[in-house]
Symmetry: C2
Subunit: 247 residues, 2 copies
DNA sequence: CGCAGTATTGAAATTTCTCAAGCCGAGTGG
DNA sequence: CCACTCGGCTTGAGAAATTTCAATACTGCG
């Protein structure tokens, strides 16, 4: 499943890296030039394939090119707890720059494509170009804000609100990344996995889903989310996108 | 309640800042010198007092000197969801360096004492001294790892394991910070607040607590945690401190 | 001493999970 | 082209966990 990408894609890959960093800070010409020098290896992922595992000591950072990646804990029972989802333009494990051992795994939710950038050159780049460092740093801080929201979501909201909030977040982020057409976005997650994300059983997910459907707020099937009534969905969820710290 | 600290304490405060940074990276003489130049304002906090609130745009970063601080979300219902606790030597809101608006609040759990370091000089310092930047960055990454663990804890563990895990984490971190004497540490949190931390009702907290007590694993009263049987507590909790990324 | 906040207990009400069966839809091989 | 199969979705109903309500202790502090 792993394969080197052709040479041309190196330029595309570093352009994508530049875009990822630019989302979180202002870069000058030097910063941009240095980012464009970064070399990477492209890789296609099969559905469900792991990119890194809990306990690994990764040597490269991942940038999502296409598809969706997820971070998850493997519990002693063997069960998973999904922690976050990442779409095109996201870097799910920038933290590896400074946390040597992975405390969670990263996998592809459906077919996906990534770039892998060796960590050492990235670290060196961050050392030399503070603005780049700050941009990546900020991206990890937004990740943390999203984790905080998940704590509240999974701990303090009703099942229906919890699901609604999850959909709001995914949809909002997809839209921000330019991945929404006609109020629908890709969300290749099964109801069972939704349960492992939100701390609910499969049956509870299914029933909460039906409430949202009957309320004509969303449609969710075949790995795709359609938002039919954003305003109602949003208020059902208590969704306030402030925590995403976008612009 | 706010008051300037005497001049002498400035030197102590910057030494504490140096210590906080040193926990997360190797600093050279220049780094250390620059850190020692940082000026701060000491502040005493009453029990329950807020340091920053959701929506604020803080201008200073907090370093805990004494006591315990907590981060929390305020939900639309008015209810709180506690997200993390911080003890001496921790910096609960380094993220404010790059996330302008607070997405959560920070309060004192009991009486506490903090140093406040203006953000702008800190940012400038990070820009000039990459090692310092990396150390603070890393501290925010460990925070994020702890948030991830909280997602799993609150979503996928039984009430008893959840509580046990929380105690393991607090105790382990207190020990690492040198705040444990004779297997007990300060933990000024009421059972109700424990519920708002772990996503359980007050009654459930109380009953889970009794299980741990009857199992002779812990004693918890008057804001103090005694660990009577670490090994059993740890296995009850499935606690693996790896995620704390302590050297 | 007594108040106020915190902890404990019991029991009913509710939510959530588990179990188990049936359904649906896409892909496969006859 | 259709039956078959597999994974994922849906449904019902009983079991179990959890919350809520409400009353009773406890404790530290003024």
């Amino acid at each position: 499943m792993e394969e080197s990408a052709p040479f041309m894609s190196h330029r595309q890959a570093s352009a994508r890296l530049l875009a990822a960093a630019s989302r979180h800070g202002t870069l000058d010409a030097i910063d941009k030039g240095r980012l464009r020098e970064m070399r990477s290896r492209g890789r296609k992922l099969a559905a469900g394939e792991d990119v890194v595992r809990q306990g690994d000591r990764p040597i490269a950072a991942v940038l999502v090119v296409r598809g969706m990646l997820a971070r998850y804990h493997t519990l002693p029972s063997g069960d998973r707890q999904y922690l976050a989802y990442h779409i095109s333009g996201d870097m799910p494990d920038v933290q590896s720059l400074f946390l040597v051992v992975m405390d969670h795994s990263v996998c592809a939710m459906g077919q996906a494509e990534i770039d892998q950038f060796p960590l050492e050159p990235l670290r060196e780049l961050c050392r030399q170009q503070p603005s780049i460092s700050f941009a990546f740093w900020r991206s990890t801080l937004v990740d943390a804000a999203i984790f905080r929201q998940s704590i509240s979501n999974n701990s303090a909201r009703t099942h229906v609100a919890r699901l609604a909030h999850f959909f709001c977040e995914q949809f909002h982020r997809a839209r921000d990344a330019g991945l929404v057409q006609t109020s629908s976005c890709s969300l290749p997650i099964s109801q069972f996995q939704l349960g492992q994300t939100l701390g609910m059983s499969l049956v509870s997910v299914n029933r909460a889903l039906q409430v949202l459907r009957r309320g004509k707020m969303i449609e969710f099937r075949g790995g795709r989310l359609d938002v039919l009534d954003w305003s109602t969905l949003r208020s059902t969820a208590d969704f306030d996108p402030m925590y995403l710290h976008i612009a």
